[in-house]
């Protein structure tokens, strides 16, 4: 891959995304990559500042909701001097296709990056058709 210089994209915030969310304020949207292989769909989401314990993956009626809570970002005595990025909980929703085997979804969180593997149901896997 060609290396390029990174530039900052402002974090996108959203007001209360779901009606059932009772928390005040706003959420940031995770930046995601979604890609697909023959076997599965992969979802990779950046959620810096979120520990493994504070990730919530909720699946209901094909709606996949990824929530990440921020806790104790600053210590009590710190006074903010300058801020270029905001800090807040993350949430983003995705609609899953019927081709995903919902009971086989696995997730892994490392260094603020959540990686979900969403295997396809056998019926949905592309079969290679040989041309004779």
């Amino acid at each position: 891959m060609v290396q390029q210089e990174l530039t900052t994209t402002e974090k996108k915030s959203v007001e209360k995304p779901e009606p059932e969310e009772t928390k005040k304020g706003f959420f940031y949207q995770q930046v995601v990559d979604i890609f697909e292989t023959k076997e599965a769909l992969f979802l990779v989401a950046d959620m810096p500042g979120v520990s493994n314990a504070n990730v919530e993956i909720d699946l209901k009626d094909n709606q996949l909701t990824l929530t990440g809570r921020i806790s104790s970002y600053y210590s009590e005595n710190e006074i903010p001097l300058y801020s270029e990025y905001g800090i807040g909980d993350y949430v983003r929703q995705f609609t899953l296709a019927d081709s995903i085997a919902q009971d086989k979804i696995t997730a892994e969180m490392k260094d603020g990056v959540l990686k979900l593997v969403l295997p396809k149901i056998d019926r949905a896997k592309a079969k290679k058709i040989e041309v004779k």
Partner: protein, 151 residues
């Protein structure tokens, strides 16, 4: 490469001060989140948040999914340089992308610190995708309490 000049003067100094106070208040209501003051200078990565307490200056950057051996941090008595790169998984023909919002590449950022520091007393921690650099304020920059003597 942009060097961020630390200044308390200028047309925005008052705004900066107000924001700082508001931000401090907002932090009291934990869990409501904060929004950034500065609109990011184009071409600058990573975005930084700077805080301080009595003894240290703290510089934080959100750098999810980085290998720590790809980070290089240097400090002088008044500047901090963060160099590194963020590698993305290489794409292959087997993979088709639906969304590609995460970015990889190299970065270099130099900032002027708001106060003189002691670069010998600096440490960096990388946790949950957040880099936190702690640098001790230099002794001479710390406020000294002046005792008032009675006659």
């Amino acid at each position: 490469m942009a060097i961020l000049r630390w200044t308390e003067q200028g047309p925005f100094s008052e705004l900066l001060r107000i924001h700082r106070d508001v931000d401090r208040l907002a932090n009291l209501f934990l869990g409501e989140g904060t929004k950034p003051l500065a609109k990011n200078l184009p071409g600058v990565y990573p975005a930084l948040n700077i805080t301080a307490d009595k003894d240290n200056i703290y510089v934080r950057a959100e750098l999810p999914g980085i290998q720590i051996n790809e980070l290089e941090i240097n400090a002088t008595f008044d500047t901090l340089t963060i160099n590194g790169q963020r590698r993305m998984e290489p794409s292959s023909e087997e993979i088709s992308y639906h969304r590609r919002e995460r970015k990889g590449g190299y970065f270099r950022r130099v900032i002027n610190l708001p106060e003189e520091v002691n670069p010998e007393k600096a440490e960096a921690k990388y946790e949950q995708g957040v880099l936190k650099i702690t640098i001790a304020k230099s002794e001479k920059a710390k406020p000294k309490q002046v005792a008032v003597k009675g006659i």
